[in-house]
Symmetry: C2
Subunit: 109 residues, 2 copies
């Protein structure tokens, strides 16, 4: 999602910055899934019905680069990879909870 | 923004429902602007630098149809039209404030 991250006076808008983080098609849903604890790739894939493995990999890599999730790989055969939220990611859960309250009250009836 | 609004078990996700409301390119910014009080068309246009009048009209109409904003027209010459948030729109402001707190802490430094 492209947003105007700055006001007309040139100052940066923190609302638009946050929107650009969670505005991607799957990003929010990945964070929602990780909010309940660490997950392996196939668990996320199963929960996010309709996502392709390629897209899920890309989203996870991008969230890792933004410091929102961390990826831990275990030297097993086959390799085990687990994803979890960082502190920056955990804080985003509060935003998601705000969205959940609103959705329950006004949208999902 | 297209999101999977239902879980794989078929239940509707209130987080994804809310995301689909605020996920549009300009929607969130329009609500942010109306949160500080009613606005006329040209005030919104000036605040949302880069938006075309056509796009702004479309977004406002769509938000009105969703019951998030209300439009009041005064029989003056030229006609005066004012936009404000409904109760459903006001509640969305809490979601925006969550996003603002997060953005200030983690993103806009």
């Amino acid at each position: 999602m492209e947003l105007t991250k700055s006001h007309s006076d040139g100052t940066v808008c923190p609302v638009a910055c946050t929107a650009s983080i969670i505005g991607g098609k799957w990003t929010l849903l990945i964070i929602r899934d990780l909010a309940s604890g660490l997950k392996r790739f196939h668990q996320l894939e199963r929960s996010l019905s309709g996502i392709s493995p390629k897209t899920l990999s890309e989203r996870l890599r991008s969230l890792e680069e933004e410091g929102i999730i961390s990826r831990k790989m275990y030297a097993e055969v086959p390799p085990r990879v687990e994803y979890s939220l960082t502190e920056k990611g955990q804080d985003l859960v509060a935003v998601i909870e705000c969205m959940r309250s609103y959705g329950k009250r006004w949208l999902c009836k």
